[in-house]
């Protein structure tokens, strides 16, 4: 799972030659053996490293505050979304939906690494949502649609249909 995601991220960042990864432990933590220095371990650590390598620092945030917001949603993805028990999924979606109410992307107006990893991490949940549920989480649906249409991001992942117009008047469900 994490390896596929890192490979998608490499493509999105325009890497010509894919890196080789291994995994360790039952949680299948990805490990990147780099030419310079010790190996790097963990999805967020490697993803952040790849963005630096690709010289796209703006994807990590352009100010200290924005960088903190990006890191926050990366941490949220790894600790709250990944391995989230079924009964907790709604609460995660509700929080994300609220957060996105007045924002285009997770860190505001700018597209960042947080959107990329959240998109890869939440895709399987979005696939499983009914039309009514997509309407309940209307801000996530809007954000998700932006990200899946962002150049180079979606790749092999199936497109999730998000309705632009409400089918049901709000407040009825």
């Amino acid at each position: 799972m994490a390896l596929k995601e890192l490979s998608s991220l490499e493509k999105a960042l325009g890497f010509k030659k894919p890196n080789k990864y291994s995994t360790q432990g039952s949680s299948k933590t990805p490990v990147l053996q780099s030419n310079s220095g010790p190996p790097l371990c963990g999805l967020l650590t490697i993803a952040t490293h790849l963005v630096r390598e690709a010289q796209r620092p703006e994807l990590l945030g352009v100010s200290a505050e924005q960088r903190a917001v990006v890191q926050q949603w990366l941490e949220y993805r790894a600790t709250r979304l990944d391995g989230c028990p079924k009964e907790e999924v709604r609460s995660v979606l509700k929080d994300l939906n609220q957060h996105l109410e007045d924002k285009v992307y997770l860190a505001g107006d700018a597209f960042t690494l947080a959107d990329m990893l959240m998109y890869y991490g939440i895709h399987h949940l979005m696939v499983g949502l009914s039309i009514q549920e997509k309407e309940t989480y209307v801000n996530i649906s809007r954000w998700f649609d932006h990200v899946q249409h962002y150049p180079g991001i979606r790749q092999h992942l199936p497109l999730v249909v998000v309705l632009r117009n409400r089918l049901y008047p709000s407040g009825q469900h």
């Binding site: 360790q24 432990g25 039952s26 949680s27 933590t29 490990v31 220095g37 010790p38 190996p39 790097l40 371990c41 963990g42 999805l43 967020l44 650590t45 952040t48 490293h49 200290a64 505050e65 960088r67 903190a68 917001v69 890191q71 926050q72 990366l74 941490e75 949220y76 790894a78 600790t79 990944d82 391995g83 028990p85 609460s91 509700k94 929080d95 609220q98 957060h99 109410e101």
Partner: protein
């Protein structure tokens, strides 16, 4: 900047130690654990840092990382890696250990829950030439791991005998005045023990058991 903390919460202790060590200027507010500070979250969460109006940081490691960056110490891949390990490998084991030791007084089982992560930390530290995790001085990685482990390791008899590197590192970090101050105000005050108990009770019962955190480097 406004910082909201509550007693007995190890995550708040981390952040307070980071504030003390970096000298960040924050107005510190003591909040009730059930108080909702972040309006977009359905459940109360602490610590919360408000770097500017309308912006809420509520993931503890991201807050610590930000405070260090403000003081001119930017995160490296090495510190990133420790922060991620702490959040994804150590915390689940730790929550299980806290449940067992604080609520059920099952010390042996608590020690077992932490065995894998502590062995990993011991092996990593034994290969490091530096006094702290990534450098000769304490970085955000040391503060984050120390804050997580403090409620368990402040009882020195908890560590297995073959963990001398962890013991020495933990002692070095605990001795920092910033950490002394943070532990003093969040956990060691009168009522801190009861507050820690309350904190553990409010956490969901840990549902996964991860014991095989293995060395990386």
């Amino acid at each position: 900047m406004k910082l909201y903390l509550s007693e007995g919460n190890p995550q708040c202790m981390k952040v307070l130690a980071a504030v003390e060590l970096t000298g960040a200027k924050c107005d510190i507010h003591h909040a009730h654990p059930e108080e909702r500070i972040v309006p977009t979250l359905s459940r109360p969460v602490l610590p919360v840092l408000q770097p500017s109006v309308g912006v809420h940081l509520f993931m503890p490691n991201a807050i610590c990382r930000y405070l260090f960056e403000l003081s001119g110490q930017e995160a490296s891949s090495q510190t990133d890696q420790w922060l991620e390990w702490e959040a994804t490998e150590l915390q689940p084991a730790l929550m299980q250990a806290l449940h067992l030791s604080v609520l059920q007084a099952k010390r042996t089982e608590a020690a077992e829950a932490l065995e894998g992560p502590l062995r990993f930390l011991e092996q990593s530290l034994s290969k490091k030439p530096t006094a702290f995790l990534t450098a000769e001085t304490a970085t955000v990685a040391d503060i984050v791991l120390w804050g997580a482990l403090y409620p368990i390791l402040s009882d020195a008899s908890f560590l297995p005998g073959d963990s001398q590197h962890v013991a020495a590192w933990f002692e070095r970090v605990t001795a920092l005045p910033a950490c002394q101050a943070a532990a003093g105000s969040i956990l060691n005050e009168k009522g801190g023990k009861a507050a820690l108990r309350g904190f553990v009770q409010r956490q969901p019962v840990p549902h996964t058991q991860r014991r095989d955190a293995q060395p990386c480097s």
